[in-house]
């Protein structure tokens, strides 16, 4: 299926957010996720299924003022 990951359309085969993250190389990374604009806690990624057109934000620690 095709989902929007950080503003870019990507093809993923994983059925859940956890599977998609692993597929995209963020399996062990310190990241926070939001699905379709809502915070998705790490503990909920395994149980959260994805559908075509979903919007996934994957955020990491970054410089800030």
């Amino acid at each position: 299926m095709r989902i929007d990951v950080n503003g870019e359309m990507q093809e993923v085969t994983g059925a859940t957010v956890a599977a998609a993250l692993a597929e995209l190389g963020w399996g062990d990374a310190k990241v926070a996720t939001a699905l379709n604009g809502e915070f998705l806690p790490a503990a909920a990624r395994d149980g959260q299924t994805l559908k075509d057109g979903d919007r996934l934000e994957v955020l990491a620690p970054m410089q800030g003022g």
């Binding site: 950080n6 503003g7 963020w26 990374a29 310190k30 990241v31 926070a32 996720t33 939001a34 604009g37 809502e38 915070f39 806690p41 790490a42 934000e57 994957v58 955020l59 990491a60 620690p61 970054m62 410089q63 800030g64 003022g65």
Partner: protein
């Protein structure tokens, strides 16, 4: 001394982590400043986030995640929830921006987000103007720290409304307050601390200085000098001159 949600800071300096020429320079600036808090953000992962986080952890300072760049309460709330999970802290520097040119905080969005976040157990550091009515509403919403601006973010103008800041400080003697944004020189930091504020938060003035580590050290010293001065009970200014050398005993020449 006022504390920040139960945390007493070793230094009244809070330093941002953005805009440095390199990560090594940022690290040097932190070491030279003695800053006790580092502000950080969350952005789309493009590869550098993991190494950055390791470096921040190595600084051994308290981490204050921000919601920088959010223009609505909804956006800021979602960002705060994400930040709490990644940074493992209830602290959040709540920024809801109201205008792109001035980066002035949106008081209505800030209050709305503060109410929801404090109910969720966040320890909110709201970035705000020096408006006293807003301050009361934020305190009513559960904020136990306030962060009035000195002047617009990145402007380096210093304390733009000393009267407003002074009255705000006097109106909330029990609330820890951080002057955040707009400081350009160490004298601005000393000024804020002399006025009785509990900390200063800055980024651009250090990161964009020709020698960030030296400027960071200067800010650290200035903030500390301001604290000492405030504790030492400064004299009241007066309009007329008063001789300091004794008049009695002066020779008849």
């Amino acid at each position: 001394m006022r504390d920040f949600y139960g945390v007493t800071l070793d230094s009244p300096l809070m330093l941002g982590t953005a805009q440095y020429p390199s990560p090594a320079v940022m690290e040097a600036a932190f070491r030279a400043s003695g800053a006790s808090v580092a502000t950080v953000s969350l952005r789309r992962e493009t590869g550098g986030g993991q190494a950055f986080w390791q470096m921040i952890k190595g600084l051994g300072v308290h981490v204050l995640p921000n919601t920088a760049g959010c223009y609505s309460a909804r956006e800021a709330i979602t960002t705060a929830r994400m930040a709490r999970e990644v940074f493992e802290t209830n602290w959040i520097k709540l920024e809801v921006i109201g205008h792109a040119d001035t980066l002035q905080p949106d008081p209505f969005g800030t209050l709305e987000a503060a109410e929801i976040l404090t109910a969720e157990g966040f320890e909110v550091f709201p970035y705000m103007t020096e408006d006293q009515v807003l301050a009361q509403r934020l305190v009513d919403a559960g904020c136990r720290v306030l962060m009035p601006w000195g002047s617009p973010i990145g402007s380096g103008l210093g304390l733009n409304n000393r009267y407003g800041l002074k009255t705000l400080r006097a109106a909330f003697p029990d609330i820890p307050m951080v002057v955040d944004a707009g400081l350009g020189l160490p004298s601005h930091a000393a000024d804020a601390m002399e006025m009785g504020f509990d900390a200063v938060l800055l980024n651009t003035a250090v990161a964009q200085a020709g020698d960030p580590a030296a400027m960071a050290e200067a800010f650290g010293l200035a903030a500390r000098a301001g604290v000492l001065a405030a504790k030492a009970d400064p004299m009241a200014p007066r309009d007329m001159a008063v001789p300091s050398t004794p008049v009695i005993g002066k020779a008849w020449l």
